[in-house]
């Protein structure tokens, strides 16, 4: 088997895996944004993604121009984000993180239910105008759509990084991430910051929803994309954007390689759990993840 190892094929699988890993990273970044500022693991991120994609596609199907639909959907996502922050998270301030997590679990049920109650449960196709034909780059076949998705995701990450590095509100975001109490003490306007962060998470949900929707069709199962992002977060650490990117690439690549090279020994279909096993094994070796900070136990 080693003798006739097909490097060409290996590379194709690897690149395909890395590119789908970028898509995982994109979803994971939505989590990181909120976790860093408010310590909430927002399980509803997947439902938000579904809601965004469903809203967008339904608007377009009703004849709303592409760009306008994008703007309207973004506005709706921002409104939802702010509403969540106001009605659900604020009353739960100072509750244990796991309580907040359960609240977002409830939230995901509400958003999923509402999305489908409003727009219906049928599957919508979503065409972003990118053909999914393979391109040959350096002898390796790569899906054109995957490249497009990766470029968009990379652009998204760059945009967020610039925003948080160079704008006033972005800088205060980082202060909040470092120490909420201190940020409060020096008079940073937390509500504004939280609203901004939830709006940013809404934007990420919109972009991820469109990319994933174009690939899988816009339907209920879109919200299950969170389940792909969670092992990425475990691997990269819940509080690290860099971790989300690298974790996504690692998970994407190892998942595809495993499916192709060892999946047959398991009877196939191992992608439902393989990412979790990778993340778990990694964590057993390094409990704070790839880039997560090692916490000093305080007693």
């Amino acid at each position: 088997m080693i003798a006739d190892f097909d490097y060409q094929f290996f590379l194709e699988v690897l690149v395909g895996g890395l590119l789908s890993g970028v898509m995982y990273s994109l979803v994971a970044i939505g989590f990181v944004l909120i976790y860093k500022t408010s310590g909430v693991l927002n399980f509803a991120q997947g439902a938000m993604l579904l809601f965004a994609a469903l809203t967008f596609v339904s608007l377009v199907e009703r004849g709303v121009p592409f760009a306008l639909a994008l703007v309207i959907t973004f506005a709706i996502m921002v409104a939802i984000g702010i509403a969540i922050e106001r009605t659900v998270l604020r009353p739960l301030t100072n509750k244990p993180p796991i309580t907040l997590f359960m609240a977002t679990l409830g939230l995901s049920y509400i958003i999923e239910g509402a999305a489908q109650l409003i727009w219906g449960t049928q599957v919508h196709g979503l065409d972003l105008g990118i053909e999914d034909v393979p391109l040959e780059i350096g002898g390796v076949l790569i899906s054109q759509f995957d490249i497009f998705a990766a470029v968009v995701a990379a652009g998204m990450v760059l945009l967020l990084s610039l925003f948080f590095r160079y704008t006033r509100i972005g800088l205060s975001f980082r202060a909040v991430a470092d120490d909420q109490f201190a940020a409060l003490a020096v008079g940073l306007r937390l509500p504004l910051i939280w609203a901004t962060v939830w709006a940013a998470a809404g934007l990420v949900a919109l972009v991820a929803g469109l990319l994933w929707g174009a690939r899988l069709g816009v339907q209920f199962s879109l919200s299950l994309v969170v389940l792909k992002a969670l092992p990425v977060l475990v691997l990269g650490g819940f509080d690290s954007i860099l971790g989300a990117i690298v974790g996504g690439l690692l998970i994407g690549a190892s998942e595809k390689l495993a499916e192709v090279y060892i999946g047959d020994y398991f009877g196939g279909g191992i992608e439902s759990w393989f990412a979790y096993v990778v993340a778990l094994v990694f964590l057993l070796i390094r409990p704070s993840g790839l880039f997560g900070q090692k916490l000093v136990e305080r007693v």
């Binding site: 509750k95 389940l227 279909g269 759990w273 979790y276 964590l283």
Partner: protein, 346 residues
């Protein structure tokens, strides 16, 4: 997750055992005489199975503080293990199959509980999803588990205890009631024992627990094992007594969340809470469907029902977390105290 440990703390005038005993007498003596088959099939059987699953998860999450999102996997493991023990071991009594199924679920629970020795909080919660996906995958992938059945859906064996058939709705109800009562009683004893106090100690302050000499690692794994045993048996009841079929599909992530919701709504770290929560989870879709049909007529089709159920359930979770974090149990105790007070002051 502040929680109260004193379960079955009934009215101050009555000894603690009176209310449970009266309830049991009613459940055994009166319900079988007056219940319709709809009551047993659509309400009481799923209620009993889910209550028991809630008791199991409450031991792990409510008492020991380890959040699990993979409960349905242990239900599935229990159901399939009982099916296979019953099928493959000649002459093993049904109760034996069920016990062994619990042991299998406990062993799987320990395996997936191992990450809890190093991971905490969200990291652990996410890692329990691995159990959910892995077990479901294994059960669908390897047809040996479903006796090479083409559809993967098998009929559950007929229930009987020492030759005494329990096929009818009432028989299955009594079968489920008995198992649930016994395991609940044992769970109640457990949480008020030193082991139960160790669970709570680890939940409330793991570092302090370790420093005062509680064997933290062993205790955590024990919590996973006991919890998975109980949830596994709940899976057997779900498949054998309620659905009467064994299939992996019903034990999906939504089921795991459902069990988690049961203990949040009912009350974390309360044995009674699991029953309160399960009652609400079982009854509210029926009420919602009646109510929706009544108010909206034909507009309220099954799709709308499904979605509004999700919305209401999600809203309930959030409302309980904000307004009554100790769940229905706390609400119930407060109402009862008010009533008692009003009654005494008249």
């Amino acid at each position: 997750m502040t929680a109260i440990t004193s379960d079955f703390s009934s009215a101050p005038v009555l000894p603690k055992w009176v209310v449970p005993v009266l309830l049991l007498a009613f459940a055994y003596g009166v319900v079988p005489l007056i219940g319709s088959s709809y009551l047993f099939e659509a309400i009481l059987l799923p209620f009993l199975a889910l209550s028991l699953a809630g008791v199991g998860l409450n031991i792990l999450t409510g008492y020991a503080g380890q959040v699990s999102l993979g409960s349905a996997a242990f239900m599935a493991a229990g159901a399939f293990a009982a099916y296979n023990f019953n099928l493959r071991i000649e002459g093993l009594p049904l109760i034996g199959s069920i016990f062994l199924a619990g042991i299998v679920a406990a062993a799987i629970g320990i395996a997936f509980g191992l990450p809890s020795l190093r991971l905490k909080g969200f990291y652990l919660a996410v890692s329990t999803l691995a159990a959910q996906f892995f077990v479901q995958w294994a059960l669908t992938k390897f047809s040996w588990f479903s006796n090479n059945s083409a559809s993967g859906v098998m009929d559950a064996p007929r229930l009987s205890i020492s030759g005494f058939a329990l096929d009818g709705a009432i028989g299955r109800y009594l079968f489920a009631l008995t198992i649930v009562s016994v395991l609940t009683f044992l769970a109640h004893r457990l949480v008020s024992s030193q082991t139960g106090r160790n669970f709570i100690a680890i939940r409330d302050n793991e570092t302090a627990a370790r420093i005062i000499g509680i064997p933290v690692l062993k205790t955590k794994l024990l919590a996973f094992a006991i919890s998975s045993f109980i949830i596994g048996v709940a899976g057997v009841i779900w498949a054998f007594a309620y659905l009467r079929t064994v299939e992996p599909d019903g034990f999906d992530l939504d089921r795991s969340f459902q069990i988690l919701f049961i203990i949040i709504i009912g009350g974390l770290a309360s044995i009674r809470g699991a029953f309160f929560g399960a009652a609400l989870i079982v009854v509210f879709p029926l009420v919602l469907s009646r109510l929706g049909g009544f108010l909206l007529g034909d507009l309220f089709d099954s799709g709308v029902l499904d979605m509004s159920q999700r919305i209401v359930l999600g809203a309930l979770i959030i409302l309980f977390l904000i307004l009554e974090p100790d769940g229905l149990v706390a609400l119930w105790d407060r109402i009862r105290r008010r009533l008692l007070f009003a009654w005494q002051s008249t």
